[in-house]
C-alpha cells in the first residue's frame, strides 16, 4: 500500500496532480457517459484537437491559454454545424475536415514559436506535474459547473441518448440540448487540457465511461463507475510515472485504456456471445 501513498506524502506537486487529475476524471465521466451513449466520440475528439490552434495562438500572443482554447472549441463547433447544415455531407465528414484543418493550423501556429517542440508537447500532453493551486481551483470550479449542468439537464440528456426526436416531442428541443451537451464537452476539454493535454483529455472522456458501459445496467451507475475508474487510473498512472520516470499524462491514459481492455476481456469471458437474450 505504501507504494501507492508515499509519492504523494512529501511533494505538493504530486498532491496537486492527483487532485486536479481526479477532478478531470469526474467531469470527464459525466460528459463522457453521454459521449459514449450518443456516439459523439469523433466530435469530442475533434473538440480536443480544435483547441490546439487557439492555445498555440494564445501562447504566441501572450494571451490566456484558456481563452484561446475556448475560442478554438467554439470555432470547431460552429464549423461542424455550418458544414453539416450547408452541405449534404454527414457530420463525420464535416468533423474530419475541420479536425485535420484545426490540427494543421495548430502545428503551423506553433512552428512560429521559438520553442516549437516544447510548446507542442505541453499542449498535446499537458503538464499535470506543473499545476498551481490556482489551476486546481479552476479545475474544481469547472468540474462543479459540468456536474450541476448535467444534473439539471438529466431528463433532456437522457431522452437525447435514446432518441433525439423523443426529446423534441417531449418539449426539450433536441438541437438546443445537443448544443448544450457539446458546450459541456468543450468546457471539460478546455479546462482539462492544462492538466492532461488536448490529446489525452479525450482518453479521459472516452475510456472510463466505455469501460463502465460494458457492465453498467443503469446510466447513473455507469457515470459513477466511470468517475471512480478515472480517478483510480489517475492515481495509479501518477504512481507509475513517479516510480519509473514516465510521462505523467501518458501514463494515466495508458492505465485507463489498459483497464478498458481488461474489462472487455472479462466481459467476453462472462458473456461469451455478445448476443441478446431473446
Amino acid at each position: 500500500m505504501d507504494v501507492l501513498v508515499t509519492p504523494f506524502l512529501d511533494s505538493a506537486f504530486m498532491q496537486r496532480a492527483l487532485l486536479a487529475g481526479g477532478l478531470v476524471a469526474i467531469a470527464s465521466a459525466v460528459v463522457g457517459t453521454f459521449v459514449v451513449l450518443r456516439g459523439l466520440a469523433f466530435i469530442g475528439d475533434a473538440l480536443a484537437h480544435g483547441v490546439l490552434p487557439g492555445v498555440a495562438g494564445a501562447l504566441i500572443l501572450g494571451a490566456p491559454t484558456l481563452l484561446g482554447a475556448g475560442i478554438g472549441a467554439a470555432a470547431m463547433i460552429a464549423g461542424v454545424t455550418l458544414v453539416t447544415r450547408r452541405s449534404r455531407l454527414s457530420g463525420d465528414t464535416a468533423i474530419g475536415i475541420l479536425f485535420a484543418g484545426m490540427l494543421a493550423l495548430g502545428v503551423v501556429v506553433v512552428s512560429r514559436s521559438d520553442s516549437f517542440t516544447g510548446d507542442l508537447t505541453r499542449i498535446l500532453f499537458g503538464d499535470v506535474l506543473g499545476l498551481s493551486w490556482g489551476d486546481v481551483r479552476g479545475q474544481a470550479l469547472a468540474t462543479a459547473a459540468v456536474v450541476v449542468a448535467a444534473a439539471l439537464c438529466a431528463r433532456p440528456f437522457l431522452l437525447l441518448s435514446v432518441d433525439p426526436d423523443a426529446a423534441t416531442v417531449a418539449g426539450f428541443p433536441a438541437a438546443r440540448y445537443h448544443a448544450l451537451m457539446l458546450a459541456l464537452i468543450a468546457v471539460t476539454v478546455v479546462v482539462s487540457f492544462r492538466a492532461v493535454g488536448t490529446l489525452l483529455v479525450f482518453g479521459m472522456i472516452v475510456a472510463p465511461p466505455a469501460t463502465a458501459a460494458l457492465f453498467a445496467r443503469r446510466i447513473g451507475v455507469m457515470m459513477a463507475a466511470a468517475a471512480a475508474l478515472g480517478a483510480a487510473s489517475v492515481w495509479v498512472g501518477l504512481v507509475l510515472s513517479y516510480r519509473h520516470d514516465l510521462a505523467a499524462g501518458g501514463s494515466i491514459v495508458l492505465v485507463q485504456v489498459a483497464v478498458f481492455f481488461a474489462a472487455l476481456a472479462a466481459a467476453a469471458v462472462r458473456r461469451p456471445a455478445v448476443g441478446r437474450l431473446r
Binding site: L152, L159, S161, I219
Partner: protein, 276 residues
C-alpha cells in the same frame, strides 16, 4: 368540415376541440411536399389510421403532427394549438430506435421517460408515476421485463416497451408510427386492446400502418400514396380501387384472403370481383 365522419352528427361541436384539425395541409422535407391537400378532423376518443407503403408520406405526416417538422401549407391545429405546443399532452412512438442496444437502461427506465414531458426540466416525479409506469408495462404484457436491460430485449420486446412509454404519458393524443412492427400476433392483439383502452379514456389515436386490417379497426382511414388517395370511415375509404392505388397489385397477392374492399353490406376477399 371535410373529413368528418358522417356518423358523427355533433361534428361542429367536436371540431373546436379536435385532437387534430387539418385543412389543406401539405407535409414534406426541405420545403418539398410529399403529400398535399390533407383534410382531417380527429375528435377525442377516436382513431385514425394512415395507410400506405414506405415513402407514401405516413411518417412525414406523423412527424408534422408532433411538431418535428413544419407543415408546408394549409392550417394545422393539434390539441387546439400549433403542433408541438403541448408536449405534455402528446405521446409519440417513432419508427426507429436505433440506439436501444447500447444504452444501460432498464425497460422501466425507458417507460418512465414517458412522464418527462409532464414533469418538465426540473419538476419532481409525482407519487403516482411509478405505478403508472408499471401499469403501462403490464398493459403491453411486458411487466415481467421491467427490470431487464433494454439492450437484452428483442426487437419486438423493445417495441412493446416504447409503446408502453407512450401509454405512460397519459396523453390526449397518441401518435404511433407502425406500432405493430416486430410484434407477433398475440402482441398485436395486446397492442390493439391497449389502444382501444386509450380511446375509451378519451385519447385520440393516430397510427401509421401498412396493414389493412389495422385500418379496418380504426374510426377513420387516410390512404396515402404521395397524395391523398381516400379518406373517411374505413368502410367508405377502403374501396378496392383506393387500396389498389395505395399498394399496387403486388401486395394484394401477398395477402390472400384479406378483405381489401369493404363495401357497405359485405366484405370481399382479395380475389373477389367487385360488385358496385
Amino acid at each position: 368540415m371535410r373529413g368528418v365522419p358522417a356518423r358523427r352528427p355533433a361534428a361542429a361541436a367536436v371540431v373546436a376541440e379536435a385532437a387534430v384539425h387539418a385543412r389543406g395541409v401539405a407535409v414534406g422535407w426541405h420545403g418539398r411536399a410529399v403529400v398535399e391537400g390533407i383534410d382531417l378532423v380527429v375528435p377525442p376518443g377516436t382513431s385514425l389510421a394512415l395507410v400506405g407503403t414506405n415513402g407514401s408520406g405516413k411518417s412525414t405526416l406523423l412527424r408534422t403532427l408532433v411538431g418535428l417538422q413544419p407543415s408546408l401549407a394549409g392550417t394545422l391545429r393539434v390539441l387546439g394549438a400549433r403542433p408541438g405546443a403541448a408536449p405534455a399532452r402528446v405521446g409519440y412512438v417513432g419508427q426507429f430506435h436505433p440506439r436501444g442496444f447500447v444504452l444501460p437502461l432498464r425497460a422501466a427506465d425507458v417507460v418512465a421517460m414517458g412522464r418527462f414531458a409532464r414533469r418538465g426540466l426540473l419538476g419532481r416525479p409525482a407519487r403516482g408515476d411509478g405505478a403508472l409506469v408499471r401499469r403501462a408495462l403490464s398493459r403491453m404484457d411486458a411487466a415481467h421485463l421491467a427490470d431487464a436491460p433494454l439492450r437484452e430485449l428483442s426487437g419486438g420486446q423493445q417495441q412493446r416497451v416504447y409503446v408502453a412509454q407512450a401509454l405512460a404519458a397519459e396523453a390526449d393524443l397518441l401518435v404511433l408510427d407502425e406500432p405493430a412492427s416486430g410484434l407477433d400476433p398475440s402482441a398485436r392483439e395486446v397492442l390493439q386492446g391497449a389502444l382501444d383502452d386509450e380511446r375509451a379514456r378519451g385519447a385520440a389515436v393516430v397510427t401509421a400502418t401498412h396493414d389493412i386490417r389495422d385500418a379496418l379497426a380504426a374510426d377513420q382511414a387516410l390512404l396515402l400514396a404521395g397524395r391523398v388517395v381516400a379518406a373517411g370511415p374505413p368502410a367508405r375509404a377502403l374501396t378496392r380501387d383506393a387500396v389498389m392505388e395505395t399498394f399496387g397489385l403486388v401486395l394484394t397477392d401477398l395477402l390472400p384472403g384479406v378483405p381489401i374492399a369493404v363495401d357497405p353490406g359485405h366484405a370481399h376477399g382479395a380475389h373477389d370481383p367487385e360488385h358496385r
